[in-house]
Subunit: 377 residues, 4 copies
């Protein structure tokens, strides 16, 4: 007989792409993991009643609401999940914290470092449990990569080599959207994709960026929006940067949406003193590992299929070699957050981690604009 | 507002590995696909009350039962899902059909052709909706492969080259289980893994096997069971066979659980007159395609990332290049079955498809035992 | 100062594709390896004076001749290199042995086992140094694979999985040639490509084939020759076979020239008790190795770049990671043969190895024709 | 009968690694290509008589010499091949040009732009035939890549993504050598490896670098030399840079000798408006090509095996899919240079190309030292 468990009642704000992924995690977490709480999908909050109701039905929430304030005031809500567009992360999170709610927030934490810091500060002051959905950290192969680095298998890190390549803006006829409008998203490929690379670098290496130099490009200067109206594109199509780290390592980073043939090519290679690892989201169930050990004549990158029960999270799903996908990384994130609510173990990525990402994003965007090396404060 | 939909009430018999995968499909189908029915997880049926109840709670069924007969007699159940060990597929399915229920049955349909045929015959006689969970057909890359072959891109098929390699029985200390006991599972790697290769060949090519020659091996002749007792292994560790097809094509097939480093390496390569395709479950989101067309100097296998909305099923999940996993193939199977219940479109794999697989399995097992070429009847 | 060395004077019979590869080896061996002999390219022997002279000039021989008998009678020739079409391997080799010459012979040794045995017998009787050009044995990655197996890294072999796939006969308009004429070549893909797979299996595993079952197909029954005349194709386009080995291992083999997209895809995978290796001629500088050892969470196939000085032959060529190609395997073969002429170390593949290949070829061809399992004598 | 051809008499200066590769090209060019000249390996010039004589014997030159001046004065020498360490490229080339000799020079052309320009200027003034050994341009896959770009298959270039990764200096115990001494080699990985990336970028894209920002690192600050004496390492272990191009494209470049597991990983990816290509020296016989064309559901990177006679140079070597290696790129370079001597067709890379590489090398080294964006003059 399963143990009787407390309930964890969640209100999710936003119900587009991220809402879809978060709500899936809420439905799946208790099915595949042994948790101290039963997750209850209490409310989905939107701005339009019909669409909120459709989302409720589709995702399986108990209620739909368009009144965020009222939702935050409810006593029976334990956790606010922020799954809205970037420019609302800060105000919603701050409001939720003020209302005494625990918060999980989508990345990026905010549109800039200042905002991000205020969120982290308020969370600490309130003593609430908060976390971020940098879900790729919990791709089993990425979690494994972190373990490998942490136990010293590849030694001190010397190189970070990170690219996040997509191709959906290659075509000049792809329409303008909020993702090409700086007032809503802050930046283009940079905030969207480099944010992942930066957080993953923090996670995998434990290093901190000290200074950066950057270059950006907008290949298509204007696009028509859905109604055929021409809109200026005021965000980057691509932004690449060089980085120095606090241990002397150096890194190259590139985010672009104009790399034909690359769909979701989020690839990080770390070179250390004693070995290397390569992780690639498009083949997210595999990790490549090289070590200078074993017989000299059979050294080479090992392609590790990260799906058997010696690997992080894998044992909860399917037998050896039966792979999982993108959405599972959200399940793992939620699972660990829920576990951290009961236990003493802190959850990361924390809001401080979100601040750290924002600092690197801000510094590299500034470096691109000013064409100078910029210190990461 | 979502449309009001009829309910489809399912009783699932069995709740081990396959029950886990099927019930997940039941939970997810309505969340990601627009279906004419709301799937209701009505009952899970087991043999032990406590374990059935635990499964109910874990998987999210309304009720648990250990009374199959009573469940079959219920008026409010629309579909029986057979997710039990191989030797019970036939009796449960036949009982369900007799009770007038629609049936989805795990593969293999039965332990032999005779049984399988009786199931197909009864389903036809009763006019009930039945289908099989050969879930790999609905891996998007496999579904795409079938489309490519069907539209003639690679021409008439000449070669089928199929292997299903695992390694969990490589080690002599892996314990005996029902999977190494012929009385429960019929055969070893053969029935488990070659069944997949055979069905996939039928699906992808539309060809029929005409005759086969086979070889089998049991590398570890006895294993200790969980209690330390020595058990004879009376099933194959590996079985390979040659095949001739009705169009003159030839094929090689191999199933083994003793291929170190291969976890779930289910790989099929088709060579046709005009091109080739290669599908591999371990990288199930990709399909390799070769065609003798386009500029002569840039011909080569194309690695197609099968996750954008031009690909089968992919548009219902996540954006381009965000991959899915093993469990999604069950969701797709259930979705198509449910769609077929309302529409006129027949569902496949049908029980006749299951019979066809069984005929090839039987013929090749006989060929291995007799060391002769055997006709597939 | 280099040491003064004896000369090794070679007469090469035949000057087509293989003559080109052999003569290249003769020119390169002393340039990159320290040998006890200076190789002298004394004579190239052909059937047409003009073409023989052109070959002489092109390849760098001292003389050209169309008189084989006279060449064999020359006292100053140490080694006859047989680089002619298959049907002349036996008569030329026998004549050379009778004339007291050492012989290197292209594969296949003969058109059938009887012929092959007579060649091996005569060589032994005469006490001459003979060898075969199964050049792929000396691809560094293949030589390494053999070392790995021999030192027990992957344990007792259980599976051999071998394919040699090409695509140049896929197209019905590819003209007839001696390669599609049984009277000259004996068989089609079988003798040409399976011969390589069989020898490589012998080399890598040390196992012997005990019995085989086979299937063959000729997809295009007739082709036009160069002059537009229709010719019946009386050899296989493809031949696949199953094999049992003397240690209980089983194998699958397939040779075809009708696999679109596969150019020279000669791939062998061995599964042993403790590990696996995969070798593929199209990426001949790499070897994939899997072992059940090291940390459990980072097991996976290692892709070994076989070009640094811990690898066979590699140290004689270029720095780490600077790859070599097809032709180098002939250089290595000649180098080892030359080394064996001075030392006591026997050279392999020997004529006995050639006989062994022929026995498996004959048995599997017979198995295909008779549709029965055939013992390898 | 082969045509009577003029002789092209070469004196090669230097006989280490590059001399080995160049002399191999001299021996092989006439064997595999139809050239207007017979190449004669007239003299090898060194600094030590014994070692020069050993090189003569090993490589197959007619004479050895330690008198460069006398060699340059010989009337019977047509071409001086400069295969010496970097710091002597300029003085030897200038002397050869003054002596009226044609020159092929190893990369880098010089230690800095000023020197390089003087060499290019003198060659032009003298009207002599000169060229550089940027041999990777003539890897068949790279030559094909250039053709693909030039014919517009991938459209206007937007991204260059280039890395040259090696690992032989990862280990702190690797000894100091001239390659870690700035006075001989100018810079470390930068001049050695980035030089290749820069030239290849020029070759493939036809673009020019406009400005660069760079970062460098020396991970091991001192190493012991062969005699155990501690030497300061005053060159970079790694240098990465960002670049802007004259058409608005952006690029990332990285050279390192501290990337464990990467042996000779020289990889360039170009993203254009309409497609992409990826070239990698470790798998130099393959080219990956992506185009937004053909059926939407089968788009993906094509892995082109660049060895059949539709590919550059390939038809002169072996049948389809029989691969070639590193050394062949030198043969192709020499072949094209020799062809250009007779014809009107200019040879590239020219000394101007060498100057252009040097300008980018200088600018990026300066950018690394000054931590500022630097214009490429």
């Amino acid at each position: 007989m399963p143990k009787r468990r407390s309930k964890l009642r969640i209100a999710m704000v936003g119900h587009a792409f991220m809402g879809r992924a978060h709500s899936n995690a809420m439905r799946q977490a208790n099915r595949f993991f042994d948790l101290p709480f039963d997750i209850e999908m209490a409310v989905v909050v939107g701005r339009d009643a019909d669409r909120a109701e459709a989302a409720r039905a589709q995702f399986g929430f108990a209620e739909a609401s368009i009144d965020l304030e009222a939702t935050l005031a409810r006593e029976d809500i334990d956790l606010i999940d922020v799954a809205t567009p970037n420019d609302t992360h800060a105000p919603i999170t701050l409001a939720a914290l003020k209302a005494g709610k625990n918060v999980m927030c989508e990345k990026p934490l905010a549109l800039n470092t200042r905002e991000a810091k205020s969120m982290a500060a308020l969370a600490k002051k309130k003593g609430l449990k908060v976390g971020m959905w940098h879900n790729y950290r919990r791709c089993p192969a990425a979690t494994l990569a972190q373990k490998i680095v942490a136990r010293g298998d590849i030694g001190k890190i010397r190189h970070v080599r990170a690219v996040y390549l997509q191709d959906w803006l290659s075509d000049a006829s792809t329409p303008a959207s909020w993702r090409t409008d700086a007032s809503v998203c802050g930046s283009g490929a940079h905030g969207d994709l480099n944010a992942h690379l930066i957080d993953m670098t923090h996670f995998l290496t434990g290093l901190r960026f000290t200074d950066v130099s950057a270059i950006e490009a907008t290949f298509i200067k204007s696009r028509k929006d859905g109604s055929g109206k021409k809109r200026t594109v005021d965000v980057d199509d691509a932004l690449a940067f060089l980085a120095r780290f606090d241990n002397g390592a150096i890194g190259t980073f590139e985010a672009t949406r104009s790399a034909p043939g690359r769909k979701n090519y989020n690839k990080i290679e770390l070179s250390g003193e004693k070995g290397s690892i390569v992780w690639n989201l498009e083949r997210m169930n595999e990790l490549a590992v090289f070590r200078f050990d074993g017989p000299a004549d059979t050294r080479g990158f090992q392609t590790v299929m990260c799906m058997d029960d010696v690997h992080p999270y894998a044992g909860q799903w399917w037998p050896d070699g039966h792979i999982i996908g993108y959405e599972h990384t959200f399940v793992h994130t939620l699972v660990d957050f829920v576990l951290s609510m009961r236990g003493k173990k802190p959850f990361s990525p924390s809001f401080d981690d979100g601040v750290a990402v924002q600092q690197v994003l801000d510094a590299s965007l500034k470096a691109a604009k000013t064409r100078r090396w910029v210190k990461v404060s």
